[in-house]
Amino acid sequence: MSTRTVEMALATPGLDDRGRPSRLPLGVGTAVDDDLGAEHMLVNIGPQHPATHGVLRLVLELEGETVKRCIPHIGYLHSGFEKLGEYRHYNQIVPLTDRTDYLSPMANNVCLALAAEKLMGIEITERCQVLRVIACEMSRVISHLVWLGTTGIDLGAFTPFLWSFYQRERIYNLQEAWTGARLTTSLTRIGGMMADVPDGWEAGLRDFTATFTKTLDEVDTMFTRNSIWCGRTQGVGVLTADEAINYSLSGPMLRASGVDYDVRKDRPYLGYETYDFDVPVGEHGDIYDRYRVRLEEMYQSNRILEQALDRLARLKGAPLNTDDHRVILPPKGRAMSDMEAMIHHFKQVMEGVPAPAGEAYLGVENPKGELGYYFVADGTAKPVRWRIRPPSFINLACLPKLCEGALLSDVIAINASVDIVMGEIDR
């Protein structure tokens, strides 16, 4: 039998005392079928569902339209990257990282190179650092643009999706010109980069940084004070600062809850401490604040990109790769004409670069949160253990908590706000 009391009539929601659109109280309705009211319903979403952003499967227990329990199922995209890494040389792991968080492959490449360099004790050149910063920030912009577009679609706004994907395409073109690939970039090598940027490439990125924020302004105009957007996101999926820390969240999820922690500021790498940028921090910990944090991060990434381009112009002609011959291949011309160089090339490719016994963890601020690579080495050219600290995986773990008591339609919005990428969750 139904346990609900039907007293109120359906009404158009007005504004609450804080000026935000009020939401219909739960359990309101005039013609509720008794059969549906009392018992809980099981709803399965995914793994093939556009709103789960990949092969995520959610089993929901509903009472009416309220979520009582959310049980996520993951692993549909499990590829065993960590196991594969144990069978590969350090440089051969780089292509695996492309395929984990496939929305920001260049940032993953950079993290891998940094972790392996920490393990081997290799210093990289200043020009290499600047190019890596550019790679990281380009990745942040495209990853956040995908998030912005798809979340807009999930909540019923189609146009910003087209705007953000148009801008994303411009970065993809630059990425393709630099690395030869749109997705599987494999940009870095231990001690340097796979390739320098081609001639005239900087002008393309300058053009992007000069015009890109116009799109963000337009999205800001569309969303930030839009009553539908505010109504669907404000006060939904709230997490306090203490909870966010307790759940080990990182990245925009952590900062939207009011925790001022950004790896770029607090454990700087690649000389991030020398760039001038701000870290946006939210205060309510709801979907709206996560949106505001990510939107502002794109403006800040744009600032970093502009500064990095200035430095790149200053470092024109400076060496790109480290001069440590343990890890860097000899120039192709010498390898083809000089016996010693050819032997060196051959041994390095066939036998790999041995890392000294030890272990190193290095975390970087990826678009999704703190991506960490943890290497354990035993003196051979292949790691004993390569662990990915996956930000999406750890952020998604709080989904049952966020969804508890929310409406079914809010589950879609909450899931979108976590900004997951299944390649990284399932690895």
Partner: protein, 209 residues
């Protein structure tokens, strides 16, 4: 063993003072401070690190495990801790003798973030976390029978032949995608055909009949 390596985190000395012989050894590798602690007091040590003023390792960055290539070496569960306020890291490792049951106390009560991380270590290495409320496989499916993929005795292509893997994948039953707990929601279980119910009750999931 007792000499303090250069750059070792002061937390290690504090741990030695507080826990004595439970702190097995410590080292610095690539600038990271690592401390090995005894399995039986691991939870106590981690709780102390989290709650003691001056330590305040309030953020659990990661839990993982390492299985070394030398089969005689113990498997290590590794906790990467961070103090967000003090901006310092510490890695706590708990060696587990492979001849004995691989068990360590769960830190779920200290950090909720440990939930999925411990499930993953259980899934990939077969380490049991005592006190975890919902310890089941996470990346591999519930009926996965080949073992624990990240153990060094697990071959790269799995323990079963490709033919057997394919046969099992094709033979999986639809109800195997739901746990008993999930089927109990909404009386879904009662609506299943009788033979499915019988198979579920017998625990025969994922097998073709």
């Amino acid at each position: 063993m007792t000499a303090v390596a250069p750059g070792l985190s002061p937390s290690v000395e504090a741990l030695r003072a507080a826990f004595g012989s439970a702190v097995l050894r410590s080292a610095v590798s690539c600038g990271d401070s690592i401390v090995w602690v005894d399995r039986d007091r691991a939870h106590e040590v981690l709780a102390w690190l989290k709650n003691t003023p001056g330590q305040e390792f309030n953020y659990l960055t990661d839990i993982t495990a390492v299985d070394y290539r030398d089969p005689g070496q113990p498997l290590e569960v590794s906790y990467q801790l961070r103090s967000l306020g003090r901006k310092v890291d510490l890695r706590v490792k708990v060696p587990l003798d492979k001849a004995k049951p691989l068990t360590v106390d769960s830190v779920f009560d200290l950090w909720r973030g440990a939930d999925w991380l411990e499930r993953e270590v259980f899934d990939m290495f077969g380490v049991t976390f005592a006190g975890h409320p919902d310890l089941r496989r996470i990346l591999m499916w519930d009926t996965y029978a080949e073992g624990h993929p990240l153990r060094k005795d697990f071959p790269l292509r799995g323990n079963f032949t490709r033919a057997e893997q394919t046969r099992q994948a094709l033979a999986a039953n639809p109800e195997a995608h739901y746990s008993m707990e999930e089927l109990s929601i909404a009386d879904a279980f009662n609506e299943l055909p009788d033979d499915m119910k019988r198979r579920l009750l017998e625990g025969q999931r994922g097998e073709l009949r």
